[in-house]
């Protein structure tokens, strides 16, 4: 794949994402090429005999292959003393692994039990915040996949026993194909390090480093399509990556470090805009669409139970299983029973030193009963499946609420409401180093560089993008391999619902419709839809009616309203007066058709905050400066409405109430 054509670059630029980072984020998308050039390359071999459950368990057999600052990834940039990565270094040695290392491993301290257990994330942060790699930040690597190339890649998937994605392009009887002339744009995002601790494990220091590693890849993928070859492309679907909190290592030896979910383009972007607004979760770099409230992260593979013990029971993540007994053997259960009953025989004398020869039998009895205590007789068959068993403790990502963290955006497209001091533009073009003549380009050119391994037609680096670490059988702390994002995107696509096949919630563009309500004081109704999330109370719409203060929209067509985003003013919240921290109020959402409401309650009730005490404490809106809440469930969506509004209680009429910004969500 040669350098992308100008029209492909134009598409890449047209749909560049706007990324909102959470405050406190230390790692930002960076130029992977400059990272590689500063790294050293290492090989890891297994000790003999190898432990298949815990390969490369110690660093004794690891060795440096190429020293730091001498790796080049393009054949035309090789200087004296440099080594071209493509000269025999792309593929790990047989039975071994190959990895890049920027600053090696973290030194042991109170939280780290041993050297070589964790990548040296602190030094990487220093280099990117203050050091030599600072200027390589705020960079993506974008790749355009044409229809013809996708067809070739689909064939490789099918030949390898995967799904037949080409079925998406085939018409059925009386039915057009799902995609006619598709293309794919992948915005690869390279984060120099990944930080992921475990919640609720404050007494376990190393739990804060549970999933830390160097060399982290994420991706925003756009599936484009056009009815004919002469018509312009339009995005159809968007793929957003999230790391996998399930078991990473698969039975076939592959690794699932990240996964992707695919959403209809309309679910992410309001009509008429091109740049998707996306939030990047702090540390984990999971990607959400802006305003989405992250749900507990779901694993892409089976649960990883190590989280249950705050990571302390590393061995417990995969308890010893028994040799297969054939189809139908309940290996896991037998394994646990085995563990409990047989092994407790070893405790016989410790448990019952006075019991002499019967101690072994007593221990058997104890272990047997112990295992019986965990038998779960199932209920009688039920009409609906019972809830899933409790997974390991939930993990929920932290994303920016409003524009309070750093924002990376396309050139000249500063998002509304974002402080320019917090905003940085994507590069508009590549550049050439004046010292060594090397080119640094945001557009992937597989002919020119050997970084990209996921296309069988091109050679690419198949090693880890960060150091291997010791005693990491679950592969959580070692650098990740570059995933096949293009395949991940189509894989996720066909495991999702197409637009119209399942309800999708979409944020209605703020410019659509006409504001309605009685919050006409101060900045007036329109201010609730100006995109400025950080306004003060004085610059927000306010009202003082004791019947309730309301603000809403009159839409040109009726929508099935299913959610609302509410922001309060950045200085006074909704300004309830004397005791703002204690003040909380109920709010109600109404809908109506055909005419504007005559008052705050003149409509059909769609949502009452009191009835949803799981969303807000006591179901009441707290009067907190800058407070934000997104409510995306619990609405009565039976009917559609062309007028919708939210009314905040104000029974005493003793003060002014305000929503500084309101977003309406419809289900399509």
């Amino acid at each position: 794949m040669a350098a992308p054509k100008p029209e492909e670059i134009a598409l890449i630029r047209q749909f560049e994402p706007i990324l909102f980072f959470a405050p406190g984020e230390r790692f930002f998308p960076s130029d992977a090429k400059r990272y590689v050039e500063r790294c050293s390359l290492w090989d890891a071999k297994d000790p003999s005999p190898p432990d298949p459950k815990n390969p490369f368990a110690t660093a004794d057999t690891w060795s440096q292959v190429i020293p730091a600052d001498t790796i080049v990834v393009a054949a035309d940039g090789i200087g004296s003393g440099d080594t071209f990565l493509g000269s025999g270094f792309l593929t790990p040695p047989s039975g071994g692994e190959r990895f890049l290392s920027l600053f090696g491993w973290r030194d042991p301290d109170d939280t780290v039990p041993s050297p070589n257990f964790y990548a040296n994330v602190e030094s990487i942060a220093q280099a990117y915040e203050h050091g030599a790699l600072k200027d390589s930040r705020f960079w993506y690597h974008a790749e355009f996949f044409s229809t013809d190339r996708l067809k070739l890649l689909f064939a490789t998937v099918l030949a390898a026993g995967g799904l037949d994605f080409s079925a998406l392009l085939k018409p059925a009887e009386n039915k057009p194909p799902v995609l006619r002339n598709p293309a794919l744009i992948c915005y690869y995002l390279f984060f120099p390090a990944h930080e992921e601790g475990l919640p609720d494990c404050n007494n376990v220091p190393q739990a804060q480093l549970f999933g830390n590693y160097a060399g982290d890849w994420a991706c925003v993928a756009l599936v484009l399509d056009r009815p004919t070859l002469t018509l312009p492309y339009r995005p159809q679907y968007i793929g957003l990556t999230n790391r996998n909190i399930g078991v990473v290592k698969q039975p076939d030896g592959s690794e699932v470090r990240v996964g992707m979910r695919v959403l209809p383009w309309e679910a992410v972007l309001a009509t008429g805009l091109d740049h998707p607004r996306l939030s990047v979760a702090k540390g984990s770099h999971a990607i959400y669409h802006k305003g989405e409230v992250p749900e507990p992260v779901a694993p892409f593979t089976v649960d990883d139970f190590a989280r249950n013990s705050c990571g302390l029971l590393q061995e417990g993540a995969s308890l010893p299983m028994l040799p297969p007994a054939g189809a139908g053997a309940d290996l896991a259960s037998v394994g646990i029973g085995w563990l409990k009953t047989v092994d407790l025989g070893g405790l016989a004398n410790a448990l019952f030193p006075w019991a002499g020869g019967i101690a072994g039998g007593l221990a058997m009895v104890a272990g047997y009963l112990w295992s019986i205590a965990e038998v779960q007789p199932p209920p009688l068959p039920q009409p609906v499946p019972p809830p899933l068993p409790p997974a390991p403790g939930p993990i929920t990502d932290t994303v920016a609420t409003g524009g309070n963290g750093l924002v990376i955006h396309p050139h000249g497209v500063l998002p509304t409401g974002v402080n320019p001091a917090n905003a940085i533009e994507w590069p508009t073009a590549g550049h050439t180093s004046p010292t060594n003549g090397r080119k640094y380009d945001p557009y992937v050119d597989r002919d020119a560089t050997v970084m990209w391994p996921d296309d069988p037609l091109f050679p690419g680096f198949k090693g880890r993008w960060g150091p291997r670490v010791e005693n990491d059988p679950s592969l959580r702390r070692s650098g990740m391999l570059f995933p096949s994002f293009w395949r991940m995107c189509f894989d996720a696509l066909v495991r999702s619902d197409p637009l119209g096949a399942a309800p999708v919630q979409v944020l209605i563009d703020a410019s659509e419709g006409t504001p309605i309500g009685n919050a006409t004081n101060n900045a007036g109704l329109a201010a609730a839809y100006d995109g400025d999330l950080g306004k003060t109370w004085e610059n927000s719409p306010t009202g003082d009616s004791p019947d309730g203060v309301y603000i809403g929209k009159h839409f040109p067509t009726a929508y099935r309203i299913s959610g609302i985003w509410i922001w309060l003013s950045s200085d006074l919240g909704f300004n309830s007066g004397n005791d703002p921290t204690a003040a909380r109020r109920n709010f109600t959402i109404y809908g109506k058709n055909g005419a504007d409401p005559a008052g705050p309650r003149d409509g059909e009730t769609l949502y009452v905050s009191h009835d949803h005490q799981d969303v807000l404490p006591d179901g009441l809106l707290p009067d907190i400066a800058g407070f934000f809440v997104a409510i995306l469930a619990g609405f009565d969506t039976t009917d559609t409405h062309d007028r919708v509004w939210v009314t905040l209680d104000n029974e005493q009429g003793d003060g002014l109430s305000v929503f500084t910004q309101v977003g309406w969500v419809k289900t399509i």
Binding site: F300, D330, A350, A355, P385
Partner: protein, 351 residues
């Protein structure tokens, strides 16, 4: 307890992609995407979706299958909704729904005429319906039509793992006569989660010292198993026999006893998850469980198989290679409670 192992929803042409974490993808043959609805049409004898036998299908025990479909006609003979090789299946004979488990030799089945709950409910033609078969892995099978219980029947055997021909949707295995005359929108399959016990076991709060104790123990156990696979298998079979024997005996009890046992086990799980392993409540509960099991005839403290296990040469061989668990003092307390207070062996008097 249930784990989703297969979720097909046919909305992307003929692609049969699984949405569960197990990636039970299928390969479709002779099917057509519907134009008026999400789903696939099965027009002829070759029509089928084949799901290869992968890991989750090997260990089932219990199963729950939901098929959302539209039946076009009732042919003579059977039309198969889903069939797992020698393991389980659902099919229709005219308007009667059948569910079964086992292979030809051990098959047990339930249907909506012989085992109907109230009155016979025919499977309707020409409209979208959801048909469900559930085997709870313990003592009962049932069929549901649009979530309403249509038939139930006691069952003796657990569901064996699927054989090498895997799972076929919309047709039978080894036949072309039993294809579905209709359309399928989605198929969901759950199994009894074989890692449920592991999940519970690892849900205990641990301090670093006890965690390291168990890490060391599990490392040594893994090593011992790997080095002595025949012994490991032999002991595992012995223990599987004990466990299965207990579960079968429990399944024969009336529902009141089963519920009582479940309640005790729930209490145990709460204490275990709370880390109250050596607490007075846990000791009381262990003693209560022990007494209850004895009273119900579900446990014999003098069981020869258990008592003799320590003398088994394989047991001795494995045991020698294990790291001690005495570094988990809370566990010691719990186990003493489970062991009860047997009479001490009298020491011989000095003459």
């Amino acid at each position: 307890m249930w784990e989703l192992i297969c979720h097909h929803r046919y909305c992307w042409g003929t692609i049969a992609a699984d949405r569960s974490v197990w990636r039970s993808d299928g390969q479709s043959f002779g099917v057509q995407p519907l134009t008026d609805h999400i789903g696939l049409h099965f027009p002829g004898p070759q029509s089928r979706i084949v799901v290869p036998r992968t890991e989750p299908w090997l260990s089932l025990t219990g199963i729950r299958i939901e098929v959302t479909l539209r039946i076009a006609s009732y042919p003579s003979g059977q039309q198969h909704l889903i069939a797992g090789d020698g393991s389980f299946g659902m099919y229709l004979e005219h308007a009667v729904l059948f569910g079964y488990c086992g292979d030809n030799a051990t098959m047990e089945s339930v249907n909506t005429t012989s085992d109907m709950v109230a009155q016979f409910t025919p499977v309707p033609l020409g409209r979208w319906i959801r048909l469900t078969f559930e085997h709870n892995g313990f003592n009962a099978m049932a069929l549901f039509i649009n979530d309403a219980l249509a038939a139930t029947r006691p069952v003796i055997n657990a569901i064996p793992g699927a054989g090498p021909q895997g799972v076929v949707i919309g047709n039978g295995i080894g036949t072309t006569l039993g294809y579905l005359r209709g359309d399928i929108e989605s198929v969901k399959v759950w199994r009894i989660d074989p890692r449920a016990m592991q999940r519970e076991f690892l849900a205990r709060p641990l301090d670093p010292a006890v965690a390291e104790c168990w890490n060391e123990f599990l490392r040594s156990l893994r090593h011992a198993l790997r080095n002595n696979p025949d012994c490991a298998r032999s002991l595992a079979d012995t223990l599987a026999g004990l466990t299965n024997g207990f579960e079968r005996a429990l399944a024969q009890k009336d529902q009141h006893d089963i519920d009582e046992f479940s309640k005790i086990c729930d209490e145990y799980r709460k204490l275990w998850r709370a880390g109250l392993i050596d607490s007075a409540q846990m000791q009381e509960l262990a003693a209560r469980l022990r007494a209850w099991l004895i009273a119900k005839g579900l446990f014999n403290p003098d069981d020869l198989a258990l008592q003799q296990l320590p003398d088994d040469p394989c047991f001795q061989l494995i045991l020698k290679q294990l790291s001690p668990l005495t570094c988990d003092p809370e566990l010691m307390v719990l186990l003493k409670a489970f062991a009860g207070n047997p009479r001490r062996r009298k020491r011989p008097r000095r003459s």
